[in-house]
Assembly symmetry: C2
Homo-oligomer: 215 residues x 2
């Protein structure tokens, strides 16, 4: 039986693929796993039935037989450890790729989310403009460090891995804000990720959900 | 040869064990691994020698023979996968414990860090007091959800795991802010973690660094 993931019935990003189900869909496609999707309204996400799967009331979750997982990073690591395609076979290289997974989620994503949340929830506040340089600086510091490490390489450490998959999805959250564009190698890196056939299939699948809801 | 981790020469928390080397020390103690520590000044952390180990110029790093890792979550997962004591043996239980590792770092920690950063860097700003309820609400939402899931259990999912280790260190960042105290089961949970002999040894080791620097 195929695993089932959850996703937004009405994604707030209007099909841009920025919700966290996109990462898991991409990982499922990279590893060649078929999957089912259960769509949830915002109200359903806060109901006991979903909180039993994810105590924080978020998507995505992952159900496979008796196993239920939450947290996109954990779901992707689970897939990567069970199927070839997302982690190197050699032990040290595998551990380093996992470092990049955590770097994407715990070092790069927080300042990017904080920047995005301010845009979303504090744009009409009197302090919004004054705080922007501080929030942008935090993002720019991380982008500069990431760009310096990536250099001319295609991926962060050897072949494409789950670390790259997560990093590309995190960087995509900056789409339209102009900061990523200060680093052409990062722009090319994101485009390289988006160009993968597995990414394209995952993107089309989440876009189809939005398109169906919009009609 | 023992692995080497890096830590702050002068920790900004003055020995309270809130820096991220504490987590790794604790994991090393839980798994019974001896380790060396290389202390770094803030200036040294931004030098090429350290950036080669961690492109983001942070502590801790982990060096073991030819392998270098960064990101506390990745280092702890590496230790947990190689030594008994931090992850269940059964595959599904292991995957669920890893879900809690990511939940600690990617769902609980970001709003807690954002709250702490505002206290640290924006206390003198005219908007500080006005933003506090929003930042506190974000933390309280997550604490309430975590408390509801933990209930009367000792640990988040069965036996103590790397997920609990990370969650306890994340919750300790709220020390002194009063919000954790709204959930007695979370207070007891943190105390249960702090009471473990491995935690005590790790805490003493990082405190000794501060004490040596303070004399």
């Amino acid at each position: 039986m195929d695993p089932t993931i959850t996703a937004f019935q009405h994604s707030p990003d209007r099909g841009r693929g920025l919700a966290r189900d996109m990462r898991v869909r991409w990982a499922l496609e990279e590893t060649g796993q078929a999957y089912d999707v259960r769509l949830l309204s915002f109200a359903e996400m806060k109901q006991p039935a979903h909180l039993a799967l994810n105590p924080f009331g978020q998507i995505p979750t992952y159900e496979e037989g008796d196993l239920t997982l939450f947290e996109s990073g954990a779901i992707i690591l689970h897939l990567a450890q069970r199927h070839p395609g997302l982690l190197p076979a050699q032990a040290d290289a595998r551990a380093r790729a996992i470092s990049w997974m955590f770097a994407a989620l715990n070092t790069m994503e927080p300042p990017i989310v904080e920047f995005g949340m301010a845009k979303l929830f504090e744009r009409d506040k009197p302090w919004f403009e004054q705080r922007q340089p501080m929030l942008e600086d935090r993002v720019r510091t991380r982008l500069g460090q990431l760009s310096a490490r990536l250099g001319d390489a295609d991926w962060l450490d050897g072949a494409f891995s789950a670390g790259d998959l997560l990093m590309v999805t995190v960087l995509r959250r900056l789409d339209g804000h102009g900061m990523l564009e200060e680093h052409p190698n990062l722009v090319a890196y994101v485009a390289r990720g988006e160009g993968r056939p597995a990414y394209q299939r995952a993107f089309a699948a989440q876009l189809a959900v939005f398109a169906a809801g919009a009609t």
